[in-house]
């Protein structure tokens, strides 16, 4: 039984790591590649989670004990596809008016968007069940009578999704397309002077990143089977994703995955370690704050020692170029 308990922990850890991985890869495309200052990651995450949940969970009418919520009970795949599409459309709508402007406008717009969406989810009780939360969100694969194997199947699906997306993002990231994104990040005007339609590229990167965050939201809901907008999808969640990206190395897909592993690993250990009650203060109840303080210190430390993050960015970013330079020298 001890063995199974340990396996359970690993499955839990990996499932969440996969969800974080999708989020950091999405933010890295926006910020690390293109320099788009999106501090509303939670917006796209939330929209993905609720879109999928409503699509795949059966409708629940209001009762004395539960406000009820909208639901269509569609197949699981419809949920994640819907989540990706709705998050992408939202990304498009927010990108069009803001990415043309200076970076700080995008930051303010995305931060505002995230809070507006969260508050709307709280308010639209008849659709989302409000703060009571939307429950019984189904898993992608259900092994009848075996919740453990059901969770294993989920972890496998998440990890597969991360692998596929990682390969895709690396593939397009090392292409001339990805190179233009990085040029825009370094100096947008200079890229425009060389004929690049910076606006179009920024919208593309923003929408693609938002879509990935939407997918992460869909997976998040079906993993916990429950979502609520009071403690989830907050600016703090966005902050954690940023810490992972900055810590691991913005602009480097492997770096941000390392960042996600370290930060989530750190959080996981803190959650699982019992903290003592010192009498005048019960540390166990203050964990959340201690964790934030510790992470803040960690970020400061890494930024001092390795300003470009733990892995930093690779020098040569185009596929095949190094081979070429060796040949000619």
């Amino acid at each position: 039984m001890v063995e199974l308990g340990f396996l359970r922990e690993i499955v839990f850890f990996m499932s969440f790591l996969g969800i974080f991985a999708l989020l950091v890869l999405g933010l890295n495309l926006q910020w690390g590649y293109t320099g788009l200052f999106n501090i509303g990651v939670a917006a796209f995450f939330a929209v993905g989670a609720y879109t999928s949940a409503i699509l795949i969970t059966p409708n629940v009418p209001p009762s004395d004990f539960y406000p009820g919520h909208l639901g269509f009970g569609l197949p699981w795949a419809v949920g994640i596809i819907g989540a990706v599409l709705v998050a992408a459309v939202l990304g498009f709508l927010i990108a069009i008016p803001t990415v043309r402007l200076r970076a700080d406008y995008l930051a303010i717009a995305t931060l505002g968007l995230a809070e507006i969406i969260r508050l709307s989810l709280i308010q639209s009780e008849s659709i989302t069940a409000g703060t009571i939360g939307l429950r019984n969100i189904p898993s992608p694969v259900i092994v009848p009578g075996d919740p453990f194997l059901t969770n294993v199947a989920f972890a496998v699906i998440v990890v597969l999704a991360v692998v596929v997306l990682y390969v895709f993002i690396e593939f397009v990231g090392r292409s001339p397309w990805g190179r233009v994104l990085k040029a825009i990040r370094d100096d947008e005007d200079a890229a425009v002077a060389l004929g690049k339609n910076a606006f179009s590229y920024k919208v593309q990167a923003f929408v693609l990143g938002a879509a990935m965050m939407g997918a992460a939201g869909a997976l998040f809901g079906s993993f916990l089977h429950f979502i609520e907008p009071l403690t989830s999808f907050t600016p703090i969640d966005t902050f954690f994703i940023w810490v992972m990206v900055i810590l691991g190395g913005a602009g480097n897909n492997r770096g941000v995955l390392v960042g996600a592993f370290l930060v989530w690993g750190f959080q996981f250990l803190i959650i699982r370690t019992p903290f003592p009650d010192l009498g005048f203060v019960d540390l166990e109840s203050k964990k959340a704050f201690l964790q934030l303080i510790a992470l803040g210190l960690l970020v400061v430390l890494v930024m001092l020692l390795r300003p470009r993050g733990i892995l930093g960015e690779e020098k040569v970013i185009s596929r095949g170029v190094l081979k070429g330079t060796k040949r000619s020298t």
Binding site: W177, V180, K182, A191, V192, A193, K196, V321
Partner: protein, 250 residues
């Protein structure tokens, strides 16, 4: 004459940077643009390349209106400019700074990257070869895989020129291309501009160094307070009283 500027004005608040300026650049020439600091030379380049939009007047290239076009679109019509103060992509290698400037790279569309990988790879190889040739010419080839942000000031100017050349321009607008470049290399660069002109490229060049202007330009246009003050051969301009006064009088 294919590049024409007609009555173009640009104001920044109360500053009349360019004021009803009318001038033309003859095809296949190296045309120098001179004038004291603040005369409006850089602003004029920004107007031609769509980085700024004129408050009045028109800019034509081969009979087509250039003003009103977005800046990225002017490059596709063959007009490219370099920056007076270099603006390299600092976290990208020197070689890739050049490669990403190439025109018509199918790989810059994500659709092609995914669905036409072989075409993308083929063009990418051509682009790399061309970038390496230009780097060799600019004597930057030993820095190919260095981050552009680590180059010296003069090297960054060379990179500016290299990037502009990668776009296959018909009209090359150079904002003080040899300022800060050592004499020997500067001469070599200017020789190369001569060659490009022989091949039919039109070069419009802002330059403060009178020796360079005198020895290299076919036509010189002098600006002062946002207007064209004079135009002629280098010798004519050198002897022009208005021009001399504009420099002395500030």
């Amino acid at each position: 004459m294919t590049l024409r500027i007609k009555d173009v004005s640009k104001r920044f608040g109360g500053v009349h940077a360019v004021e009803e300026c009318t001038l033309g650049v003859q095809d296949g020439t190296i045309t120098g643009l001179i004038g004291p600091n603040g005369a409006g030379k850089t602003t004029l380049f920004n107007l031609i390349t769509g980085f700024l939009h004129p408050d009045g007047g028109e800019i034509h290239l081969n009979g087509e209106r250039l003003d009103g076009l977005p800046a990225h679109a002017t490059v596709r019509r063959g007009v490219v400019k370099t920056w007076q103060i270099p603006r390299e992509f600092e976290n990208i290698t020197v070689l890739e700074n050049l490669m990403l400037a190439a025109k018509d790279n199918p790989g810059e569309s994500i659709w092609n990257v995914v669905f036409r990988p072989f075409r993308v790879r083929k063009r990418e190889r051509e682009v790399q070869e061309k970038a390496q040739e230009i780097l060799e010419f600019l004597e930057l080839d030993h820095l190919a895989t260095e981050l552009a942000g680590n180059l010296s000031g003069g090297q960054k100017k060379l990179l500016e020129l290299g990037r502009a050349l990668m776009t296959d321009p018909t009209h090359l607008l150079l904002d003080e291309p040899v300022a800060g470049v050592n004499r020997v290399l500067a001469e070599k660069l200017l020789d190369r501009l001569d060659q490009l002109r022989e091949q039919g490229m039109t070069i419009f060049l802002i330059e403060h160094d009178m020796d360079v202007v005198m020895s290299r330009c076919d036509v010189v246009i002098a600006m002062h307070n946002g207007r064209k003050l004079a135009e002629g051969t280098p010798t004519e301009i050198k002897a022009n009283d208005d021009v001399i006064e504009s420099y002395l009088g500030g």
